[in-house]
């Protein structure tokens, strides 16, 4: 497998405009965690966003994925505004167009590796056993299809998470500190896999990380602080 080129812009897959999200603490203090005037990602593009822990990167990804509802702004995914959709609409769009690799992988413990990949397909275009097998074979887990997550090493779990994220051939792949739980030697390998699988699935990749080694692999690296509206204070 080889990594795809960092940027091959052909048209926007993701366009974010005036996106804002504020959280209210139990003591009533309001903190604007996300305030991004503009951000876009072209089809097939692979972009890294850097930022310190707690800077709001994960919230940014959750907003793009429709897991959180923004206070204002728009999130166009292939022209469809995630922010304007109902919750059910966001669920549908997420299932159809977005793959998500979490830092802690979030695999379902009661399910085998194969079922973890298949389950995501159920909510999208429908289960495709052949593709699920093929993806797991592609990430080197051909002999671990029926293993549960706790029977797999951390690196293997990460590969299952990658296979699950691209199973529905998403237009946009989000990765939140995907190598955060891996040792440095494994991290580079995992990143290569993620980028290659993403490119092969035709997905644009938006990765957030604070790991310098990871960020250096990307042609386009954005600072989350830089994306924020000038004058806003980071939480």
């Amino acid at each position: 497998m080889s990594a795809a080129s960092d940027s091959a812009p052909r048209g926007p897959v993701l366009v974010v405009e005036d996106l804002a999200k504020t959280f209210t603490a139990p003591d009533g203090e309001r903190t604007k965690v996300v305030d991004v005037p503009s951000f876009s990602l072209a089809e097939g593009e692979q972009v890294a966003v850097e930022g310190a822990s707690g800077s709001g990167k994960t919230t940014f990804l959750h907003l793009i994925a429709g897991i959180l509802e923004p206070d204002s702004g728009s999130i166009l995914i292939d022209g469809e505004d995630m922010a304007a959709l109902s919750e059910a609409g966001r669920d549908r769009l997420r299932a159809r167009s977005i793959g998500y690799v979490f830092q802690s992988f979030h695999l379902l413990q009661g399910y085998s590796a194969l079922e973890n990949v298949l389950l995501g397909m159920h909510f999208g275009p429908g289960p495709d056993l052949g593709r699920a097998r093929s993806l797991l074979e592609q990430v080197g887990l051909a002999d671990r299809l029926d293993h549960r997550p706790r029977q797999l090493s951390v690196g293997q779990q990460q590969r299952v998470a990658v296979a699950r994220a691209v199973a529905n051939r998403p237009r946009l792949l989000l990765a939140d500190e995907p190598t955060g739980n891996l040792d440095p030697s494994r991290a580079g390998e995992a990143l290569e896999l993620l980028r290659a699988v993403s490119a092969e699935a035709g997905s644009a990749l938006l990765l957030v990380s604070h790991d310098r080694g990871i960020l250096e692999c990307f042609g386009r690296v954005e600072s989350f602080e830089g994306l924020r509206r000038a004058g806003e204070v980071s939480p």
């Binding site: 930022g51 310190a52 822990s53 707690g54 800077s55 709001g56 990167k57 994960t58 919230t59 959750h62 994925a65 897991i67 959180l68 919750e87 059910a88 669920d91 549908r92 997420r94 299932a95 159809r96 998500y100 979490f102 830092q103 802690s104 979030h106 695999l107 379902l108 413990q109 009661g110 399910y111 079922e115 298949l118 389950l119 995501g120 159920h122 909510f123 999208g124 289960p127 699950r164 939140d176 500190e177 955060g180 957030v208 604070h210």
Partner: protein, 415 residues
């Protein structure tokens, strides 16, 4: 649907122990309900219609129920005797199609001995007596016996075997009569109380040593060398086949309200129905207990699922992050509780079979009546179906908790 099936299957497997316990409690509840209804209906049917072709029982003044229980079901003690002359008068009555006299009071190893006439078998055994292997009806003038299948099974008596009756019914320590009887036939099973009876000629009862006949109002001991005058004879009961319902009503009024020397229990099914009506409270109590067990078992479904909701919130959040909608998560929990209830309903049929098998053996032992394990009854499908519906309801509260799961919170943001 396939996603739901996969989620439910995995969850049931992950929580196998609590699922098994919940299924067992539901099975017990379902089995209790179906067994109670099935036993009640079958008992009503068997005891209400177990009089063969007899419509009425004539006996000593007293309780109609006691008469029926004693003469038809061979339970209870005889309320007393009536003179032979009454039997002859009733037998000759144009409203009566057939009359069969019974004389009781002796037993053999716990099985009642009934003295009667050979015609009794034509009426009580569907037209003719059927024997296991070689066999024939007893000769009315000899000390011969025909035994029911249960008697043969429990006592080991067989064709050609000899035995001596004991005086009294069942009581331990009753002394044996000196008379020796030979078994000339073992009846095929009829699954009725008749299977538990030793049948001998009624004349043999009259002549049994120690028996005192008081049909004429004074004590009379039969002389072995002399015929017994009819005026001294007495019978415990007379089973009657009537020529129609109107005849029964007429005879009932005449014997019970006008003559007042005997009691006519008529119709037999009505008498037994009254017994069940009197015992209706017991059925209601049992039913209430069973419903209570159902309620507790259903509550246990809610509790066991609800208790897992906290640990499963992350799972629901992951499912949502994969694109599952809130209603999918809600449906998964309701389907899971329904599946548990369905399994409970199926296992309930096994519990039902076990209860019925036990009850059937007990009832057969005590009364000769056989209860079928899976006799047709709507409760056999209504109870499991109702249980599934209750199971679905039981899943609503935990499902609502799952429905409200906040995805972002439970995906634990790390930056």
């Amino acid at each position: 649907m396939r996603a739901l099936f996969l989620i439910v299957r995995r969850s049931l497997r992950q929580h196998a122990l609590s699922t098994a316990v919940t299924v067992a409690s539901l099975a017990l509840a379902c089995g209790l309900v179906t067994a109670i209804f099935s036993i009640e209906r079958q008992a009503r049917g068997a005891f209400g219609g177990g009089s063969g072709s007899f419509d009425a029982v004539l006996g000593a003044r007293g309780s109609q129920l006691q008469l029926v229980l004693n003469a038809v079901f061979h339970l209870e003690t005889s309320p007393g005797n009536v003179p032979w002359s009454l039997y002859e008068r009733v037998a000759a009555d144009p409203r009566v199609a057939a009359a069969v006299p019974y004389a009781v009071g002796d037993s053999y190893r716990g099985h009642r001995i009934v003295g009667t006439v050979p015609d009794a078998f034509a009426l009580s055994h569907g037209g003719e007596a059927r024997f296991v292997g070689a066999g024939r009806l007893f000769d009315p003038g000899r000390r011969e016996a025909v035994i029911g299948s249960a008697v043969a099974r429990r006592t080991g008596l067989a064709y050609g075997a000899h035995f001596q009756p004991a005086h009294g019914v069942i009581e331990a320590g009753a002394h044996d009569h000196d008379e020796d009887f030979v078994v000339v036939g073992v009846l095929e099973p009829t699954n009725t109380p008749a299977d538990r009876v030793v049948w001998i000629p009624i004349e043999a009862v009259f002549r049994m040593g120690g028996h005192v006949l008081r049909g004429g109002g004074e004590d009379y001991h039969a002389d072995p060398s002399q015929p017994i005058p009819d005026e001294h004879k007495e019978v415990s009961a007379v089973l009657l086949q009537l020529k129609g319902g109107m005849m029964g009503a007429s005879l009932f009024r005449e014997i019970n309200y006008q003559q007042k020397e005997a009691t006519l229990a008529w119709p037999v099914a009505r008498v037994m129905a009254e017994l069940f009506d009197k015992l209706g409270w017991m059925h209601r109590v049992l039913t209430m207990v069973a419903y209570l067990v159902v309620a507790v078992a259903t509550g246990s479904v809610t509790a066991s699922l609800y208790n897992t909701m906290n640990e499963r919130r992350r799972e629901f959040a992951i499912l949502r992050s994969l694109g599952a909608r809130r209603r999918t998560v809600f449906a998964a929990i309701v389907c899971e509780s329904s599946a548990i209830a369905f399994a409970g309903g199926l296992a309930g049929l096994v519990v039902h079979a076990a209860i019925l098998a036990g009850a059937s053996a007990l009832v057969r032992e005590r009364t000769g009546v056989v209860l079928e394990v899976f006799a047709a009854h709507p409760v056999l499908w209504l109870a499991p179906a109702g249980l599934v519906a209750l199971g679905a309801l039981a899943g609503v509260v935990p499902a609502l908790k799952a429905y409200r799961t906040d995805v972002a919170t439970h995906l634990a943001p790390t930056s």
